[in-house]
């Protein structure tokens, strides 16, 4: 993929966005259907709900500050836990065929479990609250990281490891200097997938709690507040987009030496 594009050309490509917004606005206005409010109504409703605060607080009001940071915090906590756990277990089974044979059926099973079905179980174990949400997110998203880390650790150039051994690098040094860097591109691909899954599980887990963006969505649904439902969806979409872009930036920084195409 070529990265360098001229900014005006990039903006010109977005011509379809205002067109879609206009068609959406006109169509919903013509329909006058309560389930499909026009985007202008959604935006105004979103501002009233969350963005009436002072500019010093990025316009976020109390409702927003009582819900957004918590959601984001749990999402990132779950993601970091899943990232660390997935890399540790993944690299271990990628480097040890014996361990892989022992754990493979368990891991296959864990991956096949539909994460939302585990919610009642985690609710019973931890009751509602942060621990239950982080557990749900972590368990649901650890698999892509784990599988990619294992795959990356398995397919390391044997010559590199042999060379390192000849030069007398210890096991720990080989792990840090050869295994992890070689597996990094695959690990990052897994981490990216996990991040978008984390958002999904955050929403599901918050449906069953008392604060957070997911809870606000659920509350809007219960109150038949359709613009509120749409607003929460738009907000989550923007959050997903921002998280993905932030991740791509981070990945570019960390993997500068690696010229792989995604």
């Amino acid at each position: 993929m070529t990265m360098i594009r001229h900014v005006p050309a990039r903006l010109a490509r977005l011509w379809v966005v205002p067109v879609v917004l206009l068609v959406w606005e006109l169509a919903t206005r013509a329909m006058e259907h309560p389930f499909f409010p026009p985007p202008s109504v959604i935006v105004v409703h979103m501002r009233d709900l969350w963005f009436t605060g002072s500019p010093a607080r990025l316009w976020l009001n109390d409702t927003a500050l009582a819900n957004f940071p918590q959601s984001l915090g749990r999402l990132l906590a779950g993601w970091v836990l899943a990232g660390v756990g997935g890399v540790v277990i993944g690299v271990a089974i990628g480097r040890s065929p014996l361990l892989y044979r022992f754990l493979d059926p368990i891991i296959q099973f864990g991956r096949a479990l539909p994460a939302p079905a585990l919610l009642p179980m985690f609710l019973a174990l931890f009751s509602t609250g942060t621990r239950m949400q982080i557990a749900t997110i972590t368990f649901g998203i650890v698999w892509p990281v784990l599988f990619n880390a294992a795959d990356g650790a398995r397919s390391i150039e044997p010559l590199h490891l042999e060379t390192a051994r000849v030069f007398g690098l210890t096991r720990g040094q080989r792990l840090l200097r050869i295994v992890l860097p070689s597996a990094a591109p695959k690990i990052f691909a897994g981490l990216r997938l996990s991040l978008s899954l984390a958002l999904i599980l955050m929403v599901i887990a918050e449906f069953f709690s008392t604060e957070g963006i997911g809870f606000q969505l659920r509350a809007a649904q219960r109150a038949f507040d359709l613009p509120g439902v749409w607003g929460a969806i738009v907000l989550l979409g923007i959050l997903g987009y921002v998280l993905n872009q932030a991740f791509l930036l981070l990945e570019k920084r960390v993997l500068t030496w690696h010229d792989a195409k995604m």
Binding site: R13, L14, W15, V16, V17, V20, F35, L98, R101, F102, L103, D104, P105, I106, Q108, F109, G110, R111, A112, L113, P114, A115, P116, A117, L118, L119, P120, M121, A124, L125, D151, S196, L199, I200, M202, V203, I204, F207, G214, L217, R218, A220, Q221, L226, V229, W230, A232, I233, L236, G237, L239, G240, Y241, L243, N244
Partner: protein
């Protein structure tokens, strides 16, 4: 003399895997029996297994499993019927791809489950709703993989056919589609997992009367609810493994000539 079969048991994936599973179950059982985990909070492994075995003969549960898989199969087929042609169009006509890319990039990050509350208003029939949710979430992997696969088609093969006077459609059907097929298959396999997750999530979150998700919700209110829930979840996992395994197998058989096929 020890028979050869047992000479190096740790080389056998089956033996090791069995030991691993048995070990985990024993650990869970021991944790419960020794009081490390309260059995009120989490049922014993043996209780779960017995309940799970009982579920296999439970008429009600089987009907629910059937309902979930019917929605899953229907939703997945419709997704394939929609996403593969869409991916072929986007992948082979750059103008369309350029125009729709921003829209796709804004739609894709919307977490699928966030749409369930909206879908609960829009759809009156539970089956329609499950299928709509499945289609939204599992379109992406198929669409993206199809587009990606088209980019990897050997240009020489396309040029050759064109030189012999074949039109665009003929090139698409004779070269592009067959060489994209393994990528599409991988997309469908990923989509199949997502579709199952969405089917169960929709049942869990939007209520309704049938499906594994509805069974889990209903079980939650009975006295030994947690045991039933965990047992149903075990089945959900096993069924997930079975479907994924079936897809991998079909992929290997159909595309054994393709280097990057199924791991």
């Amino acid at each position: 003399m020890i028979p050869r079969l047992f000479s190096r048991p740790f080389d056998s994936a089956l033996f090791c895997g069995f030991l691993g599973v048995a070990g985990l179950l024993l650990l869970a059982e021991a944790a419960g029996r020794l009081g490390l985990v309260s059995t009120v909070q989490f049922p014993l492994a043996s209780t779960v297994l017995v309940t799970a075995a009982g579920l296999a003969a439970d008429q009600e549960f089987l009907v629910d499993v059937g309902a979930t898989f019917a929605a899953w199969a229907l939703g997945l087929s419709l997704t394939v019927a929609f996403a593969v042609p869409a991916g072929l169009l986007l992948g082979s006509v750059p103008a369309v791809e350029r125009a729709l890319r921003p829209v796709i990039e804004f739609l894709r990050p919307i977490p699928s489950v966030a749409l369930i509350p909206l879908a609960a208003f829009v759809f009156t029939e539970r089956l329609d709703m499950k299928i709509a949710m499945i289609m939204y979430a599992s379109t992406w992997p198929i669409l993206i993989n199809t587009m990606y696969g088209l980019r990897e088609v050997d240009p020489l093969a396309k040029e050759t056919l064109r030189a012999f006077g074949f039109g665009r459609t003929a090139v698409l059907l004779r070269v592009s589609l067959p060489s994209t097929a393994p990528f599409i298959a991988t997309g469908v396999r990923v989509a199949a997992t997502i579709a199952l997750i969405l089917a169960i999530s929709t049942e869990l979150l939007a209520g309704g009367s049938d499906g594994i998700g509805a069974f889990i919700i209903l079980a939650g209110s009975s006295p030994d609810g947690l045991t039933l829930t965990v047992a149903a979840t075990v089945w959900a996992g096993l069924l997930g493994i079975a479907t994924n395994g079936a897809f991998v197998r079909v992929e290997r058989r159909l595309f054994h000539w393709h280097p990057g096929t199924a791991t």
